[in-house]
Subunit: 425 residues, 2 copies
């Protein structure tokens, strides 16, 4: 299958753009990007007039089954939200319901131009089976929680689920599904569990996903408990020796940011979730200045309540201008890599995240002819400030169309909507 | 024309809601709201299944012609943004282009469920003629700027335009167009101009629109210039003796908030614009505690870059949780009045802003069946946190359908899109 998109405005992963471009892809990869029409026969030609093409978006922190809890427990702070609402609801989940929630998450992400996610949860083999069928990419991880200092971590079933997941699903579904190791957070784990999970990540040469310094309380209590910051704790336990994506990073100290830079830890910025739960605002400017690989995430649907990276891009632009008083930070164009190539880097996907010949044909098309997108002085400004996720008309991953003009190609959303109603929380 | 909406979930202006409601309207007003189907014949019946009905939204601070400048000058702070980009561009506007920009703004607002706006600009008679045809409600005002302490304000053409506007357009277009007096801001006017405009507002018994303490610099420079805060200055000049809507209010001091409460000044919260220009965050909690009538605004399309009140509701929920650290402020349901009835109050529209028998039939229908709105534990949570403006399927103002299922009934948006391209800034 050879496809040619003609006369399209392309926003590249570095935030630059070109107009009237021809983009061709065949099977899984981009085969041509240029100013003139390429030679050859194409099975399908798409008119790009009035549209923007962007690299497929990366949602680098989420919990896919949590769509079940979207809007369930509003107006609560993180600790009460977790203990009074989310944990009891999660206790009612099962393989089937978790997978159905994950599919709904995939549908929402795909319809908003997302081609890959980093997911932390449990019921992971069931999630892998479900998510694998949707055609989206995912770095799945079994989020380990451990409180018993005297337990034998090598026999912990939560740790074992992560190992099982890796051994059975890493690079499955044509490589779209990858498996990372994960500990939930510093405050929810023992040191020896973290050390053991870190050793597994090194053994399997895979990535790590974890929550880090999301709230001030958690950060300060961690320091009191360990005599070091949560970042220092994770460094000490060896977690950062593997490719790590740390979610939230709201309360990082300067020395923590140095550790991030030193180990190449990716910081997953979840601006909407952090606002909604009253957690605060990530020190983005310091992280960027230190050269840290910043990526974007939505967190789960219960604390956002959307799973849409276009929103996170918009919020990243607005929020940091407002809280720093600097109307030029972060530059609009600098937000594009956070949502694209930086995500691919954080997931260890070396041939993804760019609109470039030889790279995976992962992209979204966005209709910019709606009144709210007119006029456009720059497609990048349009993308960051005015496009709604609902303006996405096509999402393609590994050259396969997952969504086009309101139609899901790999997910039966009507059935899914009915399935969601079968479960009460 | 008698219309009945059946089995709809209604969110009322106070943030409460009821499911499976019947709502009828005839000509301009709601005639029935109840749990059971009303008797009588209806010209049209609408199935409300899968939809939410909300009171028509109020955008209480905007500058409609500025859609021409949407995305034009990104990454600049307010003073440079105004002086280097916006003011020179505004100098190129004319009656025709201003009216075309205003129509585009109306289309965007109407498609997002907005039924009324408060607008500050110039070229106002042309705007009144254009906006009047769209069926939307608008409190228009000629924003006066004056720097010459020795000028004769009674002969100022900008002031005269406001008077002309009032005398020719107040209560025009079947009462949908109202006219307020306006001074641009404290920093852009002389005291005697403010006193004179305040006297005109009292003479005409109309409202007042102005910018107030948007940036810290403006607020502090005003204090240094006047020996009082901008709020104290406006109180002293008599501006607050009339029904006033003050936009932004980011840097209000405690004594300013007392003045707002004392005079019944409405505070127009523009959270997105204030973030984008690096101006800061309004002290919403203090204003609410003082009993101030808080309303929502988008500001112009150059500093947002959207004109959509659903976004402002969402941002109001998220932003204050994040910056105060209180995950329960403002309560989700308390944001609904800010976007509806409080707006009607600020505009002096006594029979608008409520879904109630005898009130104007102003409402929007929202489709909640899209994947991003599933599940819904409360329609209010869904409205504030997950609905996109593009989920609006119908906007009705004074009983007239202005927009339905993507179709604009009163605006030729295709022609408008072409017209927009005729003007370069």
């Amino acid at each position: 299958m050879k496809t040619l998109i003609e006369n399209i405005t392309v926003i590249f992963e570095d935030g630059t753009y070109k107009e009237n471009i021809y983009v061709a892809y065949e099977d899984k990869v981009f085969t041509y990007i240029g100013d003139t029409a390429p030679e050859g026969q194409y099975d399908r030609k798409i008119n790009g007039q009035g549209k923007i093409m962007i690299p497929g978006l990366y949602n680098c922190h989420t919990h896919t089954p949590m769509t079940h809890f979207r809007g369930m427990a509003e107006d609560l702070p993180l600790d009460r939200w977790l203990n009074e609402a989310i944990f009891p609801a999660e206790d009612k989940l099962c393989d089937e319901s978790a997978a159905i929630g994950a599919l709904l998450s995939c549908a929402e992400m795909i319809s908003g131009g997302v081609v890959s996610m980093s997911d932390m949860y449990f019921f992971c083999p069931a999630l892998a089976e479900a998510i694998g069928t949707t055609g989206i990419k995912a770095n799945l991880s079994r989020s380990v929680v451990s409180f018993d200092e005297n337990s034998d971590v090598t026999k912990d079933e939560r740790v074992y689920e992560g190992v099982y997941l890796f051994e059975n699903y890493n690079n499955s579904f044509d490589g779209r599904i990858k498996v990372d190791m994960s500990v939930h957070a510093e405050y929810s784990n023992t040191a020896h569990t973290c050390e053991y999970v870190a050793s597994l990540a090194k053994k399997y040469n895979c990535g790590v996903q974890l929550h880090l310094s999301e709230t001030e309380k958690e950060h300060n209590e961690g320091k009191a408990r360990r005599g070091m910051t949560p970042t220092e704790f994770f460094e000490k336990t060896g977690m950062f020796d593997s490719r790590t994506t740390a979610a939230h990073c709201v309360w990082l100290e300067d020395k923590d940011i140095e550790i991030f830079a030193k180990h190449g830890v990716s910081a997953a910025h979840n601006p909407i979730s952090n606002l909604k739960l009253g957690s605060g605002v990530m020190p983005l400017e310091k992280l960027v200045k230190a050269g840290v690989n910043v990526v974007l995430g939505t967190d789960g649907a219960a604390s956002n309540n959307r799973l849409n990276v276009i929103n996170e891009m918009n919020m990243t632009a607005l929020l940091h201008r407002g809280v720093t008083g600097k109307a030029d930070f972060p530059p609009v164009s600098s937000i594009v890599p956070m949502a694209t190539i930086n995500g691919a880097v954080s997931q260890g996907r070396v041939d993804c995240g760019r609109i470039k010949e030889g790279f995976r044909a992962d992209f979204a098309l966005i209709d910019t002819t709606f009144v709210h997108n007119i006029p456009s002085f720059s497609p990048v400004n349009t993308l960051i400030y005015t496009v709604y996720p609902t303006d996405v008309t096509m999402t393609v991953c590994d050259g396969v169309t997952l969504y086009e003009n309101g139609e899901f190609k790999t997910i039966d959303v009507e059935k899914l909507s009915g399935d969601m109603k079968r479960f009460k929380f």
